[in-house]
C-alpha cells in the first residue's frame, strides 16, 4: 500500500488517525502522507470520511487516536489558525469573501501592511496582490470589488491568499464542482504552478477524470477506513470506482430506451425579463429531456419559473394540456409537477427539521384526516420512500442536517416522488454526490421515465446529460439555442451550442 512513494519526509501526514462523532466512526485508523510537489487525490463516496480527514488536517477536528505529523514531527493543531500558521491552507468549494471589499483588501484582511499612525498602506496591499497574481499567472484586477467575481475567480483569490501565507500544503475540497470546463483548466494551471514551487496538494473531486488529469497519487476511503493509497498511473477509472464503492458498479448511465407517450409538460414562449427569453419546449410522458448550458445560461431560472417559484412575464406552461397559474408552486404540485431544486440545503430541505417532516412537507394534505395530522401516516409515508430510495439514516426523527450530501439528495427525491408526480424537474440531481449514489439516482430517473413520468433534467455534468437524456436542449444567454436528439448529442455539438457557436477557450 505504501510502495513507490517519493523518498523523503512528507510535509504533512496523518498516522493511524481515528475520529468518532457520538456513535459514528468517521475515521478509523487512517493514514495519509502528503509530499512536496505532489498532487494527492482523496477519493471516496459521500460519508466515507473525506470531510473529517480534511478537517483533521486543517486543525478543525482533533483526532481521538493517532497523530498528525508536520515534517515528520507530531503536532497538535488547536484550531484552524494553528494549521494555517503551520502552512496548511484549505480552499473550500464556495469561498467566502467580503463582497464589498476589493480583491486586494480581501487578500490581506486583518493583516494589512501599515504606514505611520496605523494607516493601511493601500499601495503596498495592491502591489503585493498584483505580485501574487503574477506568480500564479492569473489576470485579475486587485482593485475590483469581490462582489460579482465568479466562483472560479474567488477560488483563485483564496489560492493567492494561501500563497501569501506561504502555504506549503493546499487542500482543495471539491473546487471544481461549480466550474466550467475552461475555468477548471485555468485552475489546474495554477495548481501545477504551485506544485512546481514545491507545494503539496490534496485534491478532492467527484469527477474522476479530473483526478486522473491532475494527480499523481490517490488515497481512497470507504466507510471511514483506508482502502488504498497508490499512484494514479496504472489505475483505471473503473478500478478507482470499484475501490470507492467496494463492488463493481452497474453502468453509471443505465438509460433504457423510452416509450414516449403524450406531451405532459408544454412550455410556450416563456419569458422572464432580463433572465430568459422566448423559451418553448415539450416533454413527453416517459421521456428524459436534458437541459444543458453553461452556468448562468438561465436553465435553473427556467425551471423555477415553470414550477412557479418565480413569476414569468409572458408565455404559458401547460401540464397535460391545462395551463398553470404563474408564480404558484402549490398549483404546479396539484397539477402533478415536482421540482428537485439546485440548492438542496437552502431550497430542497428545511435543514433543522427531521427526515420524516421534510418528506412530510409535500404530503400535508394526504396525511391529514378530519383536519388533524395523522402522524402514523406521515411516518409510514416517509419511511416507505426513505427505504425505497435506500436513504442511510439512524432514525426518521433525526434532522436532515446529520445526513451526508448524497443521502440529503435522496430525501429531497423521496419528498417529491411521494407526491406521485407526472412531471419531474431535477436541477443538478447529482451535484456533489458520490459515484455510487449517482448511479442510483440515474437508475431511479430511468425507472421513473419507464413508468411514464416526464423528466426534465438540468445538469452541468455533460456525460450525465449525454448518458441519460433522450433529447438535449441547450441554453445560451437566456435562450434555447439548440435541440439535439440523443443520437446526435456529443460533447462537441452540445458545447458548441452552449457557448453560442464559439470555440470554447479550454
Amino acid at each position: 500500500m505504501t510502495h513507490s512513494e517519493p523518498d523523503g519526509v512528507p510535509v504533512l501526514a496523518l498516522e493511524g488517525v481515528s475520529r468518532s462523532f457520538g456513535a459514528v466512526r468517521a475515521l478509523q485508523d487512517v493514514s495519509v502522507r502528503l509530499f512536496p510537489g505532489e498532487a494527492h487525490a482523496l477519493a471516496g463516496e459521500n460519508g466515507a470520511g473525506k470531510s473529517t480527514l480534511i478537517k483533521t488536517l486543517a486543525g478543525v477536528h482533533r483526532p481521538d487516536k493517532g497523530r498528525v505529523l508536520l515534517d515528520g514531527r507530531p503536532v497538535v493543531f488547536h484550531g484552524p489558525a494553528d494549521a494555517r500558521d503551520a502552512g496548511v491552507a484549505v480552499i473550500y468549494q464556495e469561498p467566502t469573501l467580503f463582497p464589498d471589499l476589493s480583491v486586494a483588501e480581501n487578500l490581506f484582511m486583518g493583516r494589512q501592511p501599515r504606514r505611520s499612525l496605523g494607516r493601511v498602506d493601500h499601495a503596498a496591499v495592491r502591489s503585493a496582490t498584483a505580485r501574487l497574481f503574477q506568480q500564479l499567472g492569473v489576470d485579475l484586477d486587485p482593485d475590483r470589488p469581490a462582489r460579482g467575481l465568479s466562483i472560479a475567480d474567488q477560488q483563485l483569490v483564496e489560492i493567492a491568499k494561501a500563497l501569501s501565507f506561504d502555504a506549503r500544503v493546499l487542500i482543495m475540497d471539491e473546487p471544481t464542482a461549480a466550474l466550467t470546463g475552461s475555468e477548471v483548466a485555468r485552475l489546474f494551471r495554477v495548481v501545477r504552478t504551485l506544485l512546481e514551487r514545491g507545494a503539496a496538494v490534496l485534491f478532492i473531486s467527484h469527477r474522476l477524470e479530473e483526478v486522473f488529469a491532475l494527480c499523481q497519487r490517490v488515497t481512497t476511503l470507504r466507510d471511514g477506513r483506508l482502502v488504498s493509497s497508490e499512484p494514479v498511473a496504472g489505475l483505471t477509472e473503473d478500478g478507482l470506482v470499484r475501490r470507492m464503492v467496494g463492488r463493481d458498479l452497474d453502468e453509471l448511465y443505465p438509460k433504457q430506451p423510452a416509450e414516449l407517450g403524450e406531451v405532459a409538460l408544454s412550455v410556450r414562449r416563456l419569458t422572464r425579463e432580463g433572465v430568459f427569453t422566448d423559451v418553448s419546449f415539450d416533454v413527453r410522458a416517459g421521456e428524459i429531456v436534458g437541459l444543458a448550458g453553461l452556468v448562468g445560461a438561465g436553465r435553473s431560472e427556467v425551471a423555477r419559473a415553470v414550477f412557479g417559484v418565480d413569476r414569468w412575464d409572458a408565455g404559458e406552461v401547460l401540464v397535460d394540456g391545462v395551463a398553470l397559474t404563474r408564480g404558484a408552486p402549490s398549483k404546479a404540485i396539484a397539477a402533478g409537477m415536482a421540482l428537485v431544486p439546485e440548492d438542496r440545503r437552502a431550497q430542497g430541505l428545511v435543514m433543522e427539521m427531521s427526515i420524516a417532516r421534510n418528506i412530510g412537507l409535500t404530503g400535508l394534505r394526504a396525511t391529514t384526516t378530519a383536519g388533524l395530522m395523522n402522524r402514523g401516516a406521515e411516518r409510514d409515508r416517509a419511511l416507505d420512500w426513505a427505504v425505497r430510495l435506500q436513504v442511510k439514516f439512524a432514525r426518521l426523527a433525526d434532522t436532515v442536517g446529520t445526513l451526508s450530501g448524497g443521502n440529503q439528495q435522496k430525501v429531497v427525491l423521496a419528498k417529491w416522488l411521494a407526491t406521485g408526480p407526472r412531471v419531474l424537474i431535477v436541477d443538478e440531481p447529482t451535484r456533489g454526490i458520490d459515484v455510487g449514489t449517482k448511479a442510483e439516482v440515474h437508475r431511479l430517473l430511468s425507472h421513473l421515465a419507464g413508468q411514464g413520468v416526464a423528466v426534465l433534467m438540468i445538469s452541468s455534468d455533460l456525460p450525465e446529460i449525454l448518458g441519460m437524456a433522450d433529447r438535449v436542449l441547450v441554453m445560451h444567454e437566456g435562450r434555447i439555442t439548440a435541440e439535439i436528439p440523443r443520437a446526435e448529442a456529443t460533447e462537441e455539438t452540445v458545447m458548441t451550442a452552449a457557448t453560442g457557436r464559439e470555440r470554447s477557450a479550454a
Binding site: A23, D64, A386, F393
Partner: protein, 359 residues
C-alpha cells in the same frame, strides 16, 4: 408511477445494509436532550410550590383569581404570538391593537350602540389592524419588527384620537361581572373558559395540523417552504390577521375586567407577551418552540409578578426581574446546547488516547 416498487430499485444491491440500522447504541439522554419548555414547566411548578408554601396570601381564592385574571391578557395574545414567532415573524402592535379595540368599544358605547354589536365590530377592527400589518410585511417585504413598531405607535395614536383622555366605565353590569367575576366555587375567572377553548384550538393548530407544520417550516426556512409548495405569504398574512383579532378580543376583555375603557389600556403588554413566549422556549429566529412552553412561560411570568407583589417587591424591581428573565430565556437554550456539545466533545475525546503534543 404509483407502482414504483422498492424491488425494482434495490435489486442491484439488495443485500446492502440500507435503511435504518439502529446498530449504534443511542447516546443517552444527557443534558442536550432536556427540552427548554420542560425546564420552564418545572420552574413554574417549583415557583407555585414555593409560593403556596412560603407566601401567606398566595393560596387565597381571591389572589389566585387575581393572578389568573391579570395574566389572561398575556395568555390570550401569547397564543397567536407563539405561532407568529414560530413562523419567524413578530408583532409589536398587539398592545396598541388591544388599546384601540378598548377605546373604540368605549366610544361606541358612549354613542349608544348595543354591546352585542360593539364586540363584533371591535374584533373586525382587530382583523383590519392585523391585515394591515400582514400586508405591509408580505406584500412590501418589510421586516415585521419595523412594520409593527410603526403600527404600534399609529394604532395607539388612533386610540387616543378616538377616545381622547376620557375613560368609559359605565358598561352593563352582567358584562362587567363576566370580565371580573369567577366561576362559583372555584378561583377561575369566567374568562378562563374562552381562553381555554382558544388555547386548545391553538395547540391543535400548531402541533397537530398541516398549518402548524407549515408554520415551523416557514420559520426555519421560508425559501425551502416555498419550494415545497407552502403558500408562505398567505400563511404569514393569516397569522398576522389572527393576532389582530385575538389582540382586539383581549382589548375587550381588558375593558370589562378592569371596568375601564381608556386609550392607554394594555400599554406595554406586547413586551410581556414576547418575554413570556421567548421564556417559554420559542426561538426568536423562528422554526422552534411549543405552545405548552409559551403558556408555561406566560404563567411563570404572571405568577412571579403576583408573588413579588405579595412580598412587597417594588414595581421597578419587578421590571428588572422581568428583563433579566427575558435575557436568560434567550440565553438559556443556546447555552444549554453549547454545554451539551462541549460535554459530548469531552466524552468522545476522553475515550481515545490523548494525542501527543508538540514541543
Amino acid at each position: 408511477m404509483a407502482d414504483l416498487t422498492g424491488a425494482d430499485l434495490t435489486a442491484a444491491k439488495a443485500q446492502d445494509d440500507v435503511a435504518a440500522p439502529p446498530s449504534a447504541t443511542r447516546r443517552g439522554g444527557a443534558a442536550g436532550l432536556v427540552r427548554w419548555d420542560t425546564v420552564v414547566g418545572a420552574l413554574l411548578a417549583i415557583l407555585l410550590l414555593c409560593s403556596f408554601g412560603f407566601v401567606g396570601d398566595f393560596g387565597h381564592t381571591l389572589n389566585l383569581s387575581f393572578l389568573i385574571g391579570n395574566t389572561l391578557p398575556m395568555a390570550l395574545i401569547a397564543l397567536p404570538m407563539t405561532m407568529l414567532v414560530a413562523a419567524g415573524e413578530i408583532d409589536l402592535s398587539v398592545g396598541s391593537v388591544a388599546g384601540l379595540s378598548g377605546a373604540v368599544m368605549g366610544s361606541l358605547w358612549n354613542a349608544g350602540m348595543a354591546i352585542e354589536t360593539i364586540i363584533p365590530l371591535c374584533l373586525l377592527l382587530g382583523l383590519v389592524c392585523g391585515l394591515v400589518n400582514g400586508l405591509l410585511v408580505t406584500r412590501l417585504g418589510l421586516p415585521s419588527l419595523a412594520v409593527t413598531i410603526g403600527t404600534m405607535a399609529a394604532y395607539r395614536g388612533i386610540a387616543q384620537i378616538v377616545l381622547g383622555s376620557n375613560s368609559v366605565t359605565d358598561f352593563l353590569q352582567p358584562y362587567l361581572d363576566f370580565g371580573s367575576g369567577r366561576i362559583p366555587g372555584t378561583f377561575l375567572p369566567y374568562a378562563a373558559i374562552p381562553w381555554a377553548v382558544l388555547a386548545v384550538i391553538a395547540v391543535l393548530v400548531l402541533h397537530a395540523t398541516g398549518v402548524g407544520r407549515s408554520l415551523f417550516a416557514v420559520g426555519a426556512s421560508a425559501e425551502a417552504a416555498w419550494f415545497a409548495g407552502i403558500r408562505v405569504k398567505r400563511l404569514r398574512l393569516s397569522m398576522f390577521a389572527a393576532t389582530g383579532v385575538v389582540s382586539a378580543l383581549t382589548g375587550v376583555f381588558w375593558v370589562l375586567h378592569y371596568a375601564s375603557a381608556r386609550y392607554d389600556n394594555a400599554t406595554g403588554l406586547e413586551l410581556s407577551v414576547i418575554a413570556a413566549v421567548l421564556l417559554g422556549g420559542v426561538d426568536f429566529d423562528g422554526g422552534k418552540g411549543t405552545l405548552g412552553g409559551a403558556i408555561a412561560g406566560v404563567f411563570l411570568l404572571g405568577t412571579l409578578q403576583n408573588t413579588m407583589s405579595l412580598v412587597d417587591v417594588s414595581a421597578q424591581s419587578q421590571t428588572v426581574v422581568t428583563g433579566v428573565l427575558l435575557v436568560v430565556s434567550v440565553l438559556g437554550p443556546r447555552a444549554g446546547r453549547q454545554l451539551a456539545r462541549t460535554v459530548a466533545r469531552r466524552r468522545s475525546a476522553g475515550s481515545g488516547n490523548a494525542p501527543v503534543t508538540s514541543g
